[in-house]
């Protein structure tokens, strides 16, 4: 089956990102396809490489980035929701006159159309939020 995944909460405060990660990993291990993982609302906060959780805790951003690299996952961060919360890639940082960017490896900033497309192209769109 082909799944689209939506994550609408940031890491650590809510379980949503953990659950989405585990679901995505399990689905891939069972041979399913992940069309895209779309990060919206506070879910965009999963995409900063500047998060530093304690060493004895999981690092969700690193887990997502590693999973993306291993399975060529399409991790898309919403371009409307991300800048509002300080999540910027190099292009957006330059465009907004900011002195740096914080997007993590494997994440791509793109439009809300990518969420709608995931709904159209996936057999099931599974949303992880509050």
């Amino acid at each position: 089956m082909r799944f689209g995944i939506v994550v609408t909460e940031g890491p650590y405060t809510h379980q949503a990102s953990d659950s989405a990660y585990r679901f995505t990993k399990a689905a891939l291990e069972k041979g399913h396809e992940i069309f895209r993982v779309f990060f919206y609302n506070d879910g965009v906060n999963n995409a900063t490489r500047f998060a530093v959780p304690p060493q004895d805790d999981r690092n969700l951003q690193v887990l997502w980035s590693e999973l993306a690299e291993k399975h060529k996952l399409d991790l898309v961060v919403c371009i409307a929701a991300a800048p509002r919360r300080g999540i910027l890639d190099a292009d957006e940082a330059k465009r907004q006159g900011k002195d740096g960017n914080n997007i993590a490896p494997g994440f791509l900033i793109s439009g809300l159309g990518q969420l709608i497309e995931a709904g159209i192209q996936s057999d099931r769109l599974v949303m992880f939020g509050d």
Binding site: V6, A81, L112, I116
Partner: protein, 138 residues
């Protein structure tokens, strides 16, 4: 389940009051962008989500943008099916007259203005949800 070439039935479910959290505003942003994709779109309002459609919203005292007018423009985006759950209204002491009048122009009937809001009870809402392909809940 529709295949890749078919139109899918999208249902946006709004569950939160408009200004206490960002969900209402960011849900509306998805609805507006999604309208360009020519899918079959419905929007539902349940629980505190019914407050999103209250008439006379005034955000002057809280320093936030009043986006309530955008709901009234949904008809211009071909979003014409808004479903409000009756029990959610009643549980909050609201009646249908407390909500904004939202209409669309029906091009098949000489652009007559028709109401976009439909009031449904909880069991009908359950049925509505089960009839949709893609559910986005905010």
């Amino acid at each position: 389940m529709a295949d890749e070439t078919n139109t899918k039935k999208f249902l946006y479910i709004n569950r939160k009051a408009p200004y206490g959290t960002v969900y209402a505003l960011e849900s509306l942003e998805v609805v507006l962008i999604g309208a360009a994709f020519e899918q079959d779109v419905s929007v539902a309002f349940v629980d505190d989500g019914v407050f999103q459609l209250m008439s006379g919203q005034d955000t002057a005292g809280i320093g936030m943008k009043n986006f309530s007018k955008t709901y009234r423009a949904l008809g211009d985006y071909e979003v014409r099916k808004l479903y409000v759950e009756r029990e959610s209204l009643a549980e909050r002491g609201l009646v249908s007259d407390d909500l904004m009048a939202i209409t669309y122009e029906d091009e098949n009937e000489d652009y007559a203005e028709k109401p976009s809001i439909h009031f449904v009870d909880r069991s009908e809402m359950t049925k509505l949800i089960s009839e949709h392909d893609v559910i986005l809940s905010f």
